[in-house]
Amino acid sequence: MRTLITGPLLAGLCVAVLTGPMRAAEEGACYVAGSLVHADFALPRTAAAIERKHVSIVVLGSASSSLPGAEGAAKAYPARFQESLTRRLGPDVTIKVVVRTKARDTASEMVKTMRPLLADEKPDLVVWQTGTVDAMLGVDPEEFQTALGTGIEVLRGGKADGVFVNMQYSPRTDSMISLGAYVDAMRFVALQREIPLFDRLGVMKDWNEMGVFDLSTATKKIDVAERVHDCIGRMLARLVVDGAMLAKTNVTGSGSVDTPNKDNH
């Protein structure tokens, strides 16, 4: 009994001690907003895939999951996320990231594309970035919330973990796009369905406030945008690794791999 409890505790402690300095190096200046990024819920399927040394991930999103230009795909956060994950998990874990972005898809339109996506790619994890398009079109927040819930059910039915990514912080359009109701809806669904949420909005707000990035300058240059995406990718990788680790401690601790499924109603 005692070893059962102290085992994972010790393991967790070792992991924390070992990953501490590595974390700081990996995250660099992005780290200032680190306290906002934590996996509140476990990612059991991702953890199992890491164990199998092969993780298949889909990033499903709208325009803000990509960057313009010839180098855009390599510099946007999904690619940076893949790189950071590889660094964190070591070279013997293969990580495949498929990016599916459609500029003007609302959450409910994305849900429609999910089933074929799951069948084709069989992902262990789907990073689902959404909300901005819905807010701009003024989709009923309740409808948005329902779409998020349905989407999560589809993902779980397809045996994939889910991670939400919310909106960008955009100071220039802050007074034109009312994000509030959509941010709340996503946070609520995340809590209710036990889905880790990457609070991109909060993180970018922190970066802007602390002067890591100046997000209100008008510019044609892409360098700041690239660094922002690089940071988002790194922080997202941290959240996913944390979520997977949480699943491992859950397995040894209480043996409840299937807890995320308990409220599939």
Binding site: L67, M136, E142, Q145, Q168, R172, S175, F188
Partner: protein, 387 residues
């Protein structure tokens, strides 16, 4: 049944709290403003909108109820509709300012990080549709939802006022039934480019009519109950409960202490349709206010209260100014600095501008009132212009 008599003298509390509500709405409308932490929406379910709508209903009944008793249904209705028209014009004016802001940003701001967010400017590409939808009250950009609600509430008010004057309780029942029907069938007005109205007028009318009912003698009828000890304690407990729940939104780690059953039955707390929890929260606040701020409270005449009261007395103008100032304040924050000092400066300057404008409007009304002797009837100027 004898028509209910409007109470004599203006209740300064209404002006005071409407003025404060206008300040809070202004602070809440500036995005990423730390100063808005002081506003009530962060400490409970309801916010300044409830106060504004309730007091608007109260004053509308107070002013036009007397008019309907004295000069009949037609004259009073005509005046109410004239007021609705004024609010409509004000809304279009704000829309023009909003368009100017958007067009400026579209022309001057470029950043590869925000190609998605710039989609909000797409409607500039089809001004034909956008402007017509705005005139039909279907296109309502951010922070411009309250006036369309107010327009519909006023436009539908004449028959409701007629009924309120004949059978106040019956009118309240009609209002509650409409509210229930709206909830049951999930009814709302359509909006452009998609979705529905942010403030569903058919749900929010409940608060407006309740305010009107209170003005027409309802307040005295429930006064005893509202001032009783048990009701007071229920209100206190409910406010404390709402406060604790709200804290779990800002400190998500606390959310685990909210029982699942409770959170499942409670959420989402629907602002669009005036959730019953929000209505109850407003009632609880009103009960506490009744207890601690009596109508003859001497502090109401203190100079320090004067700025808020002045703003409350010219609510339409000050509301519009507040929306405009919140655009301007946000613009200044983006252009110059968005540090905490700037946020405080913008918040304070905005409120000062609102007070100065209210004082100016009072002065205008005063000199205009002196010119025409018909306006000199006691209180008509003060109350008549500002329902």
């Amino acid at each position: 049944m004898p028509p209910a008599a409007a109470p004599a003298g203006r209740d300064l509390r209404l002006d005071l709290f409407r003025g404060l509500a206008l300040w809070l709405i202004y602070l809440d409308h500036i995005p990423s403003n730390m100063v808005s932490w002081v506003t009530i929406r962060n400490y409970g379910f309801s916010d300044a909108t409830e106060i504004f709508v309730f007091i608007s209903g109260y004053t509308a009944a107070y002013v036009y109820g007397r008019e309907m008793n004295n000069r009949g249904f037609i004259v009073a209705s005509a005046r109410i509709l004239k007021r609705a028209w004024q609010v409509y014009v004000a809304h279009i004016f704000l829309f023009v300012i909003y368009m100017a802001e958007i067009a400026y940003v579209a022309a001057s701001f470029e950043n590869p990080l925000y190609s998605e967010e710039m989609g909000i400017l797409n409607f500039l590409k089809q001004p034909d549709v956008t402007i017509i939808e705005a005139m039909l009250l279907k296109f309502k950009p951010a922070n411009m939802d309250v006036l369309p609600l107010y327009i519909i509430l006023l436009a539908g008010f004449p028959p409701m006022l007629w009924l309120l004057l004949r059978n106040a309780t019956g009118a309240l029942v009609v209002s509650v039934v409409l509210y229930a029907v709206v909830w049951y069938f999930d009814l709302n007005l359509p909006a452009y480019p998609s979705g529905t109205w942010v403030f569903n007028p058919m749900a929010w009318q409940l608060l407006f009519v309740f305010g009107a009912w209170c003005a027409l003698g309802g307040a005295e009828r429930i006064g005893k109950v509202a001032r009783s000890k048990p009701v007071f304690w229920i209100a206190v407990v409910y406010l404390a409960f709402a406060f604790l729940i709200t804290m779990t939104w800002y400190f998500p780690r606390l959310a685990v202490y909210v029982p699942r059953l409770l959170s499942e039955s409670m959420y989402p707390i629907d602002k669009t349709n005036l959730d019953v929890l929000r209505f109850a929260h407003f009632l609880a606040l009103a009960i506490l206010t009744l207890r601690y701020v009596p109508q003859d409270w001497s502090a109401l005449t203190w100079p320090i209260m004067r700025p808020a009261i002045l703003c409350g007395q010219h609510s339409l103008e000050i509301f519009c100014l507040g929306v405009f100032l919140s655009f301007l304040g946000h613009f200044a924050m983006v252009e110059i600095s968005d540090g905490l000092a700037m946020q405080v400066v913008v918040s304070v300057l905005g409120i000062v501008a609102m007070v100065a404008t209210a004082a100016l409007i009072s002065w205008y009304k005063n000199i205009e009132g002196r010119k025409s002797p018909r306006q000199a009837t006691p209180n008509a100027d003060l109350a008549g212009g500002e329902a």
